[in-house]
């Protein structure tokens, strides 16, 4: 599944329009403890988190993730979004809860991380 397809699936809005939407999603994950995510993040991952500060983008980029998804309509600071755009990292916001987003991803066959 591509990031653009995921966007439709979870009724999301892109906070980084046109950035990284062709990227293929290989696995999904949700966690808000950044140091936990650093230990478990993976390439091609779609990561659902309520955290929005700059370090979220750093973690996503360093782990070579496919996108960051903010649940429940959460917005991200401009500073973090600027960094996401410059690093080519897609950031989506969905009205759904983290639970619902992960449920939809799983139902589409997106696996947990390897």
């Amino acid at each position: 599944m591509k990031v653009s397809e995921l966007k439709t699936l979870i009724g999301a809005e892109s906070l980084t329009p046109g950035v990284g939407e062709d990227r293929e999603i290989t696995c999904g994950y949700t966690c808000d403890l950044l140091s936990w995510v650093m230990a478990h993040g993976d390439e091609g991952m779609a990561w659902v988190t309520v955290q929005t500060h700059l370090n979220v983008i750093a973690v996503a980029v360093l782990s070579d993730m496919a996108c960051v998804i903010l649940p429940e309509g959460i917005r991200m600071e401009t500073e973090s979004l600027d960094k996401a755009v410059s690093e080519g990292m897609a950031v989506l916001t969905s009205p759904l809860t983290a639970f619902e987003i992960c449920g939809k991803l799983a139902a589409q066959g997106v696996p947990p991380k390897a």
Binding site: S35, M38, L54, N55
Partner: protein
């Protein structure tokens, strides 16, 4: 053997805004050298962890990158405060991070174990009142 790249990045204590800059530059430089895939990801994760450790726990320090034809070496050294019990610090889930770090989602006690897991070679030396030196090596196959 001469290093292909050698660079030192100063890291300030408690500077969460700049945290990750050194790791991002290290990743970019390695990518330019043609390092990719698993090794690049492991170096990126370990360098970010060690950079964050300097920000969260140290009184300031530096991260040194050296790239040789067959390996990447990262050395983190700080000016204190030093770790009183290294075996506790290496335990997953053990953390002494303050509230500010925890409010940003850090301090899960995963940093040092995660560095060890990602590096091919890992060594840590620490003296209370003096500082901590972490040396990590990554083989370039």
């Amino acid at each position: 053997m001469d290093a292909l790249i050698q660079n030192t990045y100063p890291v300030k204590a408690a500077d969460y805004t700049s945290a990750g800059r050194a790791s991002a530059d290290i990743k970019r430089r390695l990518k330019q050298l043609g390092v990719s895939g698993d090794v690049l990801r492991r170096v990126a994760v370990a360098s970010y962890e060690v950079e964050l450790n300097l920000v969260i726990h140290s009184e300031g320090g530096e991260l040194e990158l050296a790239v040789f034809p067959d390996r990447v070496q990262l050395v983190s050294s700080d000016v204190g405060p030093g770790i009183p019990d290294l075996s506790l610090a290496m335990k997953e889930g053990w953390s002494t991070a303050n509230d500010e770090a925890r409010s940003l989602g850090f301090g899960a006690g995963m940093g040092l174990p995660n560095m060890k897991r990602n590096a091919d070679d890992f060594a840590i030396e620490s003296e209370v009142g003096k500082g901590t030196v972490i040396t990590m090596g990554f083989r370039l196959a």
